[in-house]
Symmetry: C2
Subunit: 196 residues, 2 copies
Amino acid sequence: MPEKGTFNWAKGFVLDFALSDGMSKTAVSTKRYLAQMKGMFADDAAYAKMLPDNPLVYEFFELGAPENSGDIAFGTSITYPGKVGDEYFMTKGHFHTILETAEVYYGLSGEGFMLIENPEGDTTAHPIAPGKAVYVPKRYAHRSVNTGSVPLTTFFAFRGDAGHNYATIETKGFRKLIVAGVDGKPEITDNPRWGA
Amino acid sequence: MPEKGTFNWAKGFVLDFALSDGMSKTAVSTKRYLAQMKGMFADDAAYAKMLPDNPLVYEFFELGAPENSGDIAFGTSITYPGKVGDEYFMTKGHFHTILETAEVYYGLSGEGFMLIENPEGDTTAHPIAPGKAVYVPKRYAHRSVNTGSVPLTTFFAFRGDAGHNYATIETKGFRKLIVAGVDGKPEITDNPRWGA
């Protein structure tokens, strides 16, 4: 087992990610709290009301894969259960900097959706569940949305040099939102503020 | 859920791989029986003796990812428990055709090793277990070896255009073997026939 942060990408290594909850005892996760997601949820009043508690919305592992087209970045992502108003907790979401690179996610626990959209506006909400692999194609921004009551955990892999473009989504948002409907079930709706 | 064999790599898709055993109800696996591994185990007499039963040694999923550097091939690999003489059941193993491409394996069930070696002769046996991710670096041939009593199952991901070079290993073998020692525990030994 390597020490924290010391991964030998040239010789290979073994790293723990618990199948039950995606957590590693060896690697350190990157955490995103509600305060870091200003403007990303549709209901500003509900966001402001929750802000004093500043809950952890999601976390994921960045292992520092070489930014090289022959390497593979991988890790786990954990999105916690919760809602801001009627909108489910989710990751910020991003395009890859190298737009023409795909990613695969393998569901370990929890339930929700991988919301994807490409620059031309094609959108799909692929269901995520334990034992389901979701293919995020080239050119698609992607965001995990937890519609359940336990953490939504996935194992992910993508090209080492793909990079993360968060700015486009932070500025424009996704075209679709995933919210709890009146019956409490997830609904996919248009984002009234998209592109604003 | 896509129909068998129809995966939309351009729009994304969801595919089932059971966390318990790696099997898919939707996709079709490629199977490798003992008869397809002639000359790959060290003990020819033990091999010949087992051949009439022709057991299934391993299977894995090939989904037909586009042979493109921006796509990611993925699936599960299942290596069954067993031995030929004192050598554990294993996959054929291969280099990637594009040598400078890595691969990640995430252990779902069972126990064993990911045996790796590069053309210069550097070799390592990385332990595989449930909840352990193994990074196979660029330039390394890799083979799964099941040293336990239940199927060894992994989820894998690599670049869509990496390709498989089986011929080098079929001709030369790996420099190391993994065999049951006199105490029944796995031992890593030199392959006396390597390069022959």
